[in-house]
């Protein structure tokens, strides 16, 4: 097995993980402020749908005067704004009307599925509305020349870079800025936040809607950087995996990133396995090694964040990280015997690993304390 294969798999893994990461960031923003969001799926679907409609109709109405990329940007904005509006409905229902946040999320999902399918059947299909393609790949000068890391991280379409930036920015902002502190205090203990003059209601509205915009990006990326058109129910449960990814990543952006990569990698593997050029045992070992490496990275970041003795010891983290890398290295040196495992079973790996990691390694994932509870001013 060559490492070229691994590099291309990793690069594809990031692409496949991107919608999940955006979705998880959506859930994170909303839940850090104390609002449960099981409507991520609906918001992503809306984002995908409106991004398609926006770009396709803009291009149709302007008759191709503009560069296709202009249409794509218009579509992107329409997708973001629409998903934010849907999130606004979630916010109104759950914050203003104080209806149960799970119900409100379910409403969002039903409405999004109903509306997008309806319009797809009533308008897109009969008129054969076609998309305007996808964003081009931007190779970052110099950085993309770095061996191994370059092709993995720096040869992508623009929305992937935006995702990297957002993950890093939000990780910093949530845990290291006054804004983040206010946000977290609203999610943990709104009464206390209120008593020091933070506007709980406003904070919640703002973050739920901001989260919606992120989910919109997650939907839009599936249209604008992948297939180029809208397919009915195209998010196919990614909103729910994003929810799991968010919890798995312990409500932190970097954690969500790590968890999403695991799912993205297995999706990438699924794509490649259909070509039949990957040894099944090799795939198994690589996914396991990746899980080990990601876990150690997430631990490490948690430790750095706490800036204290809390968390795993650096030796353990380092050891496990090295172990993962070693397995990965060895996997690329050894010639594996040919064993045929049904592809479906290989696809099971990330789900099984998630459960194992969750029970054995990460342990309690506890969300913000006030999540799910409408705020009543005393």
């Amino acid at each position: 097995m060559t490492s070229i294969l691994l590099v291309s798999l990793m690069s594809l893994a990031i692409i496949k993980a991107a919608p999940l990461i955006y979705g998880a960031l959506c859930g994170l923003m909303s839940e850090r402020s104390g609002v449960v969001n099981i409507g991520i799926e609906g918001m992503m679907l809306t984002g995908a749908f409106m991004a398609f409609m926006g770009s396709a109709l803009f291009s149709k109405w302007t008759g191709g005067v503009f560069n296709p990329n202009v249409s794509l940007v218009v579509g992107l904005l329409v997708g973001i704004i629409s998903a934010a509006l849907v999130a606004g409905l979630h916010a109104i229902l759950s914050i203003h009307y104080k209806i149960d946040q799970v119900i409100s999320g379910t409403v969002i999902n039903l409405l999004a599925v109903g509306l997008t399918n309806y319009v797809a059947n009533a308008y897109i299909d009969p008129t054969h509305l076609s998309g305007v393609g996808v964003f081009p790949v931007w190779k970052i000068p110099l950085l993309s020349k770095i061996p191994i890391l370059g092709p993995i991280f720096f040869e992508h379409q623009p929305m992937i870079y935006l995702m990297f930036a957002l993950v890093l920015f939000l990780q910093y902002a949530i845990f290291n800025t006054p804004w983040g502190l206010r946000l977290r205090s609203v999610g943990e203990y709104p009464q206390a936040a209120d008593s020091v003059g933070i506007n709980v209601i406003k904070t919640r509205y703002l973050n739920v809607i901001l989260g919606g915009a992120l989910a919109g990006l997650g939907g839009a990326i599936m249209v604008l950087e992948s297939v180029g058109r809208f397919q009915k129910l195209m998010t196919s449960g990614r909103g729910f995996i994003a929810l799991a990814v968010m919890i798995f990543g312990r409500w932190s952006p970097i954690g969500a990133f790590g968890a999403a990569i695991l799912f993205g990698f297995s999706e990438a593997l699924g794509v490649r396995l259909q070509f039949g050029d990957i040894n099944h045992l090799y795939a198994l070992v690589v996914v396991a090694a990746l899980a080990v490496i990601l876990t150690s990275i997430v631990w490490g970041i948690n430790r750095l964040r706490n800036r204290s003795t809390k968390g795993k010891s650096p030796f353990l983290i380092g050891g496990i990280f090295t172990l993962g890398l070693t397995i990965l290295y060895l996997a690329n040196q050894v010639e594996f015997p040919k064993v045929s495992v049904p592809i479906e079973f290989l696809g099971l790996l990330p789900y099984v690993l998630t459960i194992i990691v969750l029970t054995g390694l990460v342990k309690r994932a506890v969300g913000p304390a006030a999540v799910g509870k409408p705020y009543e001013k005393q």
Binding site: D100, N109, Y118, A122, E188, E344, T354, L358
Partner: protein
């Protein structure tokens, strides 16, 4: 009122597509209730939703968010198929046996998530979602090309049909109305009795309301979580078993009851997680599913308007303040409500 408003709002969508809302909704009503067969179809469609909806509701009462109903329902069906295509016992034994097998499969799957939560602190939302995918993949393999359960020589992914002895008896011969609805109603009564008339039910509800209180009064919380999940998953599994046992061609194919897990969540929530409410909301969902086809045929309205309608109904029922302010109705007395997101955040 909420339903009326939802109809009104979705009329706009229908008008926009150039069809007549009145024609559409009358076709929907005829399709759901117009003839004996249509009425039967409504009941048949509602049956699994009642049972699975009860499962979701039971978990919610116990403070657990069982989002894995889809997987538990699937494994219930597939195990029912496994047993029902291999054992050909007298009907009186075989029917309960197959149902039990399905229920047990769902119960075990859900109980495992419950165990992981109680003893290892793994969030049930994640583990049940993961289980959904795991079950789905295994089933795809099992009924896929060369899979062990694939019907021989079939060109589509499907299993063999259940033996005659494993099929549910019909209530009215030559129709699709099978015993399932009777079982579903009995289960609704059973769940009501369990929740509100037994010690276990009280314990489940205390754990759901307040974990600390539950510990304080000496309830074995861990055992309770596992048990609640098992009961919830058992209901979901049974719903799946009854689907394959009651509906021709009595087998499992891909695309079979996809979305039931999700619908049952909506049904449970719409029925305000009360067994009686679940029955009515499942019938409502069943009626809309059953009537949708005729609506599409007669009024040329895409079938998906139904999902939209369901969402709107749920929204207006839940946010009844909107309805009250629209129609200037007085506010009802504040009643005891359950917080569905109880288990979500910190303790």
């Amino acid at each position: 009122m909420a339903i009326f408003t939802a109809l009104l709002v979705s009329s706009i969508a229908i008008l926009l597509s150039g069809a007549s809302p009145i024609k559409a909704f009358s076709a929907l009503a005829v399709g759901a209730f117009g003839t004996r067969d249509n009425l039967i179809e409504t009941v048949v469609k509602a049956t699994p939703l009642i049972i699975a909806g009860l499962g979701v509701a039971l978990a919610f009462r116990g403070g657990l968010f069982n989002i894995g109903v889809e997987g538990q329902l699937f494994i219930g069906s597939i195990v029912a198929v496994l047993v029902g295509t291999n054992f050909d016992l007298p009907k009186i034994i075989n029917v309960p046996l197959v149902m039990l097998a399905g229920a047990l499969a769902g119960a075990l799957l859900a109980a495992f998530s419950g165990y992981l939560k109680a003893w290892h602190g793994a969030h049930e939302v994640i583990t049940t979602i993961m289980m959904n995918y795991i079950v789905l993949r295994i089933i795809t393999w099992a009924i896929g090309a060369n899979g062990p359960l694939r019907k021989p020589l079939s060109i589509v992914p499907e299993t063999r049909s259940l033996f005659e002895s494993a099929r549910l008896p019909l209530l009215i011969s030559d129709t699709r109305l099978h015993m399932g609805i009777v079982i579903a109603l009995a289960l609704a009564a059973g769940v009501y009795f369990l929740l509100f008339r037994t010690v276990l039910g009280v314990e489940i509800r205390i754990v759901g309301k307040n974990l600390h209180a539950a510990k304080y009064v000496g309830i074995n919380v861990k055992r309770n979580i596992v048990l609640t999940m098992a009961l919830s998953g058992g209901l979901a599994g049974l719903a799946g078993a009854i689907q394959v046992m009651g509906i021709p061609p009595y087998n499992f194919t891909t695309g079979f009851n996809v979305g039931y897990g999700f619908d049952s969540l909506a049904v449970a929530v719409l029925g305000s997680i009360h067994p009686v409410g679940v029955v009515f909301s499942a019938l409502l969902f069943g009626a809309m599913d059953a009537g949708a086809r005729l609506m599409q045929l007669r009024a040329k309205v895409p079938i998906d308007i139904i999902t939209l309608l369901q969402g709107l109904i749920l929204m207006f029922v839940a946010a009844n303040q909107i309805i009250r302010s629209l129609y200037h109705l007085p506010a009802p007395s504040k009643e005891d409500s359950v917080n569905l997101t109880q288990s979500w955040g910190g303790e």
